[in-house]
């Protein structure tokens, strides 16, 4: 994994949204992230932590405020122009969270799945139909579903349509933005297994955004934890899950209820007070300092950097407790 050149690199990637009165939402702030080829990086964090914005900014759906992003060493444009989308849509794609609102209700499934080819290839109409049909089969639907409309499908089936739509151009890097959050448990496993199969057969690299820690650990090679626009911890998924270092990760893991009554009953409650602060007025120093049970004086003034741990260099934590 380390020998291969990184597929996607974000360096001090920043995305602010402007509000009226010159105020800004600090959605993603100086995030540095490397994604290697054929790797699955899970991105977890609470709503408002900036994980979706990071994913969208990486593939050009939002222009960057500052910082750089590159793909196989080639710099990605700061703000995508139509020709940039034409070029990069073949390599980078996105699977959206909500299978209800992310499919155009007035287009047939065949049109939705085939649209990428229509825009980005020289395929004839018949070829597009054939390929769309093949892809529907590949994601577990029937080719004759092509003339139907999205409302005729269940949530799980729509998510399969969304996957076929994203993958028909055979991209290399796919941002999966909460692809299973809207689905029932039994259907989640179907979709996760489908993604896993496609990942293996197509050699995909995935950024898997979700808030379900157990599922992210299951799916990902590495896991990154975001809080209020910054990555506070990143490392091999199981290590981060089973021995979290950052106090926020610890609380996130401890808050994740598991389907095991005895364990849940005897687990001491580690709830933290308060809620994620507004990304408009971000706290000085460590962004978690206001809620952190182990806060020190330095945390309120100095922003901790994401640094490798002394005893495990494949793990990085942004916390003064681990400063060497």
């Amino acid at each position: 994994m380390t020998a291969a050149p990184p597929l996607v690199v974000a360096d001090k990637l920043t995305k602010y949204f402007q509000l009226s009165g010159g105020r800004q939402i600090h959605a993603v702030d100086q995030v540095t992230l490397t994604v290697h080829e054929k790797e699955v990086v899970g991105l977890v964090g609470e709503s408002g932590s900036g994980k979706s914005t990071l994913g969208k900014t990486l593939i050009g759906l939002h222009p960057r405020t500052s910082g750089t992003a590159s793909y196989r060493g080639e710099a990605l444009p700061q703000r995508y122009q139509p020709e940039d989308f034409r070029r990069w849509a073949k390599k980078t794609q996105m699977i959206f969270q909500d299978p209800y609102s992310s499919l155009n209700p007035r287009m047939t499934v065949g049109e939705i799945v085939g649209e990428g080819l229509k825009l980005h290839s020289t395929c004839s109409a018949t070829e597009i139909r054939d390929r769309a049909g093949d892809w529907l089969k590949r994601v577990g639907l029937e080719p004759d579903h092509m003339s139907r409309y999205p409302h005729e499908f269940s949530g799980g089936q729509r998510q399969r349509i969304g996957i076929a739509r994203a993958l028909i151009l055979e991209p290399e890097f796919v941002v999966c933005d909460e692809p299973i959050s809207a689905l029932d448990v039994s259907v989640q496993a179907q979709v996760v297994n489908l993604l896993d199969e496609l990942k293996t057969s197509m050699g995909l690299t995935l950024l898997f955004i979700a808030h379900d820690l157990s599922m992210v650990r299951y799916v990902s090679d590495r896991m990154a934890v975001m809080y209020l626009g910054v990555i506070v911890e990143i490392g091999p998924a199981s290590d981060v899950f089973f021995s979290p270092k950052h106090p926020y990760t610890e609380i996130l893991v401890a808050s994740n209820p598991e389907p095991d009554p005895l364990r849940e009953r005897h687990r001491r409650s580690e709830t933290i007070a308060g809620e994620i602060p507004s990304p408009v007025d971000v706290p000085a120093g460590c962004r978690f300092s206001g809620r952190c049970p182990r806060v020190m004086d330095v945390c309120r003034s100095v922003t901790p950097q994401l640094l490798p741990l002394a005893d495990a260099t494949d793990r990085q934590v942004a916390c003064h407790l681990f400063a060497t």
Binding site: G156, D184, V187, A189, P257, P259, P261, L262, I272
Partner: protein
């Protein structure tokens, strides 16, 4: 504040008993059999979790108990529900006490749309007390602030004067809880109370519910699709599938001695947090049946890996496995093959309930 009713603690009939509840909805396409013979009981001061996937009828069941199912198009075709032995279906009050709000409080999934955006939070809580208890405006408002404080809303007095849009999602859900417990109901129904919340906020709200239950002795019916939340909160569990109770019992029985293939299927479809990564998730293939015309046999047969011939023709009914543990599955019949993962009643296999 002491509100643990003596009759709640005394042993005897359960606080709430639901028996063979059936609810249908008339539509242009025919009638949807949403709830198809659901029975369960809730003990005073305990938590019953009703768990199931979207469309399994869990919300319709409790909304019907609350009188919140619109009729028409909804229709109760059979069944009874008794609160302390008194029938409540189709009634709005028992013994001069209103059922909705007074006897049974309710917390909804989406706090943003369940509160009135044009009223201050304090007034919405006070209104409950004015309506149900006939309290004065002043007294009700004072109590509202106390309730917000009990729901661990900081600076409750100031917060009471704010409107819902000034609250975060987690704070709104606490305000909803304050509304629901205002009249110290015997039962609190929480319909997916934490589904819209982040895990750290979910943990805070679940802790709050447990603490309030201990303090005011209310029973909780928790509707959820999250088995983790069930494990954390429930004393007893009802697993619903396609409008029926697939499995029912104590939380230990249902989780550690699962007796219905659907419950086993759900467990196998979730990642387990043991450290070996590559146990492959086993999805439940297919999707739940169409409730316009539910199957004649077992509703789960089409997706069940252990389905036998009888399963597609005859409804199994609930098999009793002892200790209140039941499973609606033919595998507990005398002639059925043993499935290693399934729990069976030791002494009396296949004893029909």
């Amino acid at each position: 504040m002491t509100t643990v009713q003596p009759q709640d603690i005394a042993a005897g009939p359960p606080l709430l008993e639901v028996d063979d509840l059936r609810v249908e909805f008339d539509t242009y396409g025919g009638s949807v059999k949403a709830v198809r013979g659901v029975s369960f009981s809730v003990a005073a001061g305990k938590t019953l979790a009703i768990v199931g996937e979207s469309g399994c009828g869990k919300s319709v069941t409790v909304q019907t108990l609350m009188g919140l199912t619109p009729m028409p198009p909804g229709r109760i075709t059979s069944g009874r529900a008794r609160l302390r032995g008194v029938d409540i279906l189709g009634r709005t009050e028992i013994g001069g006490r209103e059922i909705r709000g007074r006897e049974i409080g309710m917390i909804f999934q989406d706090p943003m749309t369940s509160l009135n955006p044009t009223m201050t939070i304090g007034r919405q809580i006070a209104e409950t007390l004015e309506v149900h208890r006939g309290w004065s405006r002043k007294r009700a408002l004072d109590r509202a602030v106390e309730l917000l404080d009990m729901a661990r809303i900081p600076e409750a007095a100031q917060r009471a004067n704010q409107y819902p849009f000034e609250f975060s999602g987690g704070m709104l859900q606490r305000a909803m809880i304050a509304v629901a417990i205002a009249c110290e109901p015997a039962i609190l129904i929480a319909d997916e109370p934490t589904t819209a919340l982040d895990v750290t906020i979910q943990a805070q709200v679940l802790d709050l519910l447990s603490d309030l239950q201990r303090d005011i002795g209310t029973a909780i019916i928790l509707i959820t699709h999250d088995l983790g939340v069930v494990a954390r909160m429930a004393d007893d569990v009802v697993v619903m599938y396609a409008g029926q109770v697939a499995e029912q019992g104590s939380v230990e029985d249902v989780f550690y001695r699962s007796a219905h293939p659907y419950m086993l299927g759900l467990r196998a479809a979730m990642p387990s947090n043991s450290s070996d990564r590559r146990h492959r998730l086993l999805p439940i293939e297919g999707s739940p049946p169409d409730l316009f015309s539910p199957p004649t046999g077992c509703a789960y047969a089409a997706r069940c890996p252990h389905a036998m011939r009888i399963c597609s023709t005859t409804d199994p009914g609930a098999f009793s496995l002892g200790g209140g543990h039941t499973a609606r599955c033919w595998l507990h019949g005398d002639k059925a093959p043993r499935v290693p993962q399934l729990a069976y009643a030791g002494a009396a296999p296949g004893l029909k309930a």
